[in-house]
């Protein structure tokens, strides 16, 4: 606490103990860097009200619309063959794209954080690039490359009999693109903060490179890694725009859960659409819960910007 504040509090205590305040309990004098309680509670009230209307109400609406006719239609929508296929495809896509970006994130963070080389800042900018590209543009660029009719590699793919666009590989690629920076951007600032002394100690004690990474570096960043994977996974399972462009919306084959939501909604199957949506909303809630837990419990072991 600052000196001025201590002084003021002390005066207040002296005033109180010397019996200056007879009767009603004396109010703590307001510090000059604080707002009056009226203003404070008004600001809190306005912020909470706005957040409830803008953020929470949409979330509540998802569950309310899904359960409008009870639980049975929800279960029907989720056990429907197309619904099940969508759930399976979403899990498959996440199971490929998350580990791929995890390996990339670790490699990128190792190169960027443990060494000094030219063009490093530029490399970091490039790694963050996918976040500033529209998901639809992300989908489009893969169509321009891999479409069998119009793509650059179209003739080659035709020759090999491979289909990327309107098939699972395209969905995986588009998902990897939009979730590209998640793990790297959690690890890079943290590993830069941690420096190289731990690794140098391990190496000087005779550990090999891989062992140093496995026994020293990885334990140091494990919570940040988990944090990045969590965010990466949420986006991978929920991505809509990029996947929508490359998927072709073939029911039971190239339909992920978010795309299935769209199809059901456009067919006026509102309850079914909100049923699938509520599963995705639950995933978002679990992600937020775990993320907050990591921030509170292991805040010190996350990158500086993540400590609350």
């Amino acid at each position: 606490m600052s000196d001025v504040a201590t002084l003021i509090t002390r005066e207040a205590v002296i005033a109180e103990t010397s019996g200056e305040t007879v009767g009603a309990r004396r109010r703590q004098p307001r510090r000059p860097t604080e707002e009056s309680p009226t203003i404070r509670w008004t600001l809190i009230g306005v912020a909470v009200a706005l957040l409830v209307v803008f953020l929470l109400l949409p979330l509540v609406a998802v569950f309310a619309e899904a359960l409008r006719r009870g639980l049975d239609p929800v279960i029907d929508a989720l056990t429907d063959p197309d619904g099940l296929a969508a759930i399976k495809l979403t899990l498959l896509v996440a199971a490929i794209s998350v580990p791929a970006n995890l390996v990339f994130g670790v490699a990128a963070a190792w190169a960027v954080a443990k060494y000094e080389f030219k063009g490093k800042a530029f490399l970091i900018t490039l790694i963050d690039l996918p976040f500033s590209v529209s998901p639809v543009v992300a989908g489009l660029v893969y169509v321009l490359l891999y479409s069998t009719s119009h793509g650059w590699f179209g003739p080659v793919l035709n020759g090999l009999g491979l289909q990327v666009i309107f098939a699972v590989p395209g969905i995986v690629l588009a998902t990897i693109f939009v979730t590209f920076p998640f793990v790297a951007r959690e690890l890079i600032p943290l590993m830069e903060e941690q420096g190289t002394t731990d690794e140098e100690a391990a190496l000087s004690l005779g550990a090999g490179g891989f062992r140093t990474f496995w026994m020293v570096t990885l334990p140091n960043v494990k919570w940040a890694l988990l944090y990045g994977v969590l965010l990466c996974n949420a986006r991978a399972m929920g991505e809509f725009g990029a996947v929508s462009v490359v998927s072709g919306h073939i029911r039971g084959l190239t339909n992920t859960m978010p795309l299935h939501v769209e199809i059901l909604y456009n067919e006026y199957e509102f309850v079914a659409a909100f049923a699938v949506a509520s599963v995705l909303a639950l995933l978002a809630l679990v992600t937020l819960g775990l993320k907050s837990l990591l921030e509170w419990r292991y805040g010190d072991e996350l990158a500086a910007g993540r400590r609350h």
């Binding site: 600052s2 001025v4 000059p32 404070r40 600001l43 912020a47 909470v48 706005l50 957040l51 803008f54 953020l55 109400l57 609406a61 998802v62 390996v103 990339f104 490699a107 990128a108 190792w110 190169a111 443990k114 060494y115 000094e116 080389f117 490039l126 963050d128 690039l129 500033s132 590209v133 529209s134 639809v136 543009v137 489009l140 660029v141 169509v143 321009l144 490359l145 693109f177 590209f180 140098e200 490179g209 140093t212 949420a234 929920g238 991505e239 725009g241 462009v245 859960m257 978010p258 795309l259 939501v261 509102f270 949506a277 995705l280 909303a281 978002a284 937020l288 993320k291 907050s292 609350h308």
Partner: protein
């Protein structure tokens, strides 16, 4: 500064790590984006300009840029208020509120889209209140704006919050002892220090909004010339096998993304010189 590319280090694996990083970056991000730029240069600037100036495309680009700008603008005071309340005040439920801020990041955009539509449609919880007053929200540009406010709010809060948290309380005390009222201190001492974070947050929010697709297309109603956004137009053109048209719109959007990225980097280097931090 040595002339070599990498400073010597005892830590092994530089070549492997950097090699893999650059390879993966090239395959996933750089080559695909280069393909788009290549296509665009095949078309040439005059063709892109004339495609972009087609009335329907122009209307879509205008709608996207104007609603994104207004959404980011609305989120500046909104985000500042939320960041202020979260950092400066202690009240029951603060942590829960803090966790809620990231909801738009975590909630899949399609889910947000249909939820917002259900809320603001003329028969929805909020929509019927406005419908009674004769105001239509869903299926108009107001609906587009609303969805963009939802998706871009966290950007302002999350960029301002850590800076506000680090702000030295002593400067505020100095300002108070010099006779400044609370409002004056906030306006003349705190806000200028937050300016780089606000600008960065604004640019991030704007960039995200311009490219946003999932949360907008349901509530927008997608009426050509009225509530059709630029990313949707790319999808429509692709479905019509109009690859040139799609490429033209995408190129303009990519250029805006790069401009935003450049602006963020400039703001941050300016802030580092001016305040010694980002």
């Amino acid at each position: 500064m040595s002339a070599r590319f990498v400073q010597p280090s005892v830590i092994p694996g530089f070549r492997l790590a950097l090699g893999f990083t650059v390879f993966y970056l090239a395959v996933i991000v750089l080559i695909p984006l280069a393909a788009l730029i290549w296509r665009a240069s095949d078309l040439g600037l005059p063709a892109i300009t004339s495609l972009a100036l087609e009335p329907r495309t122009l209307a879509a680009l205008q709608l996207s840029f104007v609603t994104s700008f207004l959404a980011a603008l609305f989120n500046v005071p909104f985000g500042l208020l939320v960041a202020w309340v979260l950092v400066r005040y202690r009240f029951p439920g603060r942590r829960l509120l803090d966790a809620t801020i990231d909801l738009p990041f975590a909630l899949p955009t399609a889910v947000a889209g249909i939820a917002l539509t259900a809320l603001y449609a003329p028969n929805g919880w909020i929509g019927q209140l406005f419908a009674a007053a004769g105001i239509k929200i869903a299926f108009t540009p107001v609906g587009v704006w609303l969805a963009l406010v939802f998706v871009s709010l966290p950007f302002i809060v999350r960029t301002v919050q850590p800076v506000l948290d680090d702000l030295d309380r002593e400067v505020e005390e100095a300002s108070a002892t010099l006779g400044a009222g609370r409002l004056r201190t906030v306006a003349k001492v705190i806000l200028p220090a937050l300016l780089p974070a606000i600008l960065t947050g604004f640019a991030l929010a704007f960039a995200r909004s311009v490219g946003e697709y999932g949360s907008v297309i349901f509530i927008a109603g997608n009426i050509p010339y009225v509530s059709e956004i630029a990313p949707l137009l790319i999808v429509i053109k692709l479905e019509e096998y109009d690859y040139a048209g799609a490429t033209a719109v995408a190129t303009i959007m990519l250029a805006v993304s790069f401009a935003m990225l450049l602006m963020i980097n400039l703001v941050q280097s300016w802030s580092r010189r001016r305040f010694g931090r980002v």
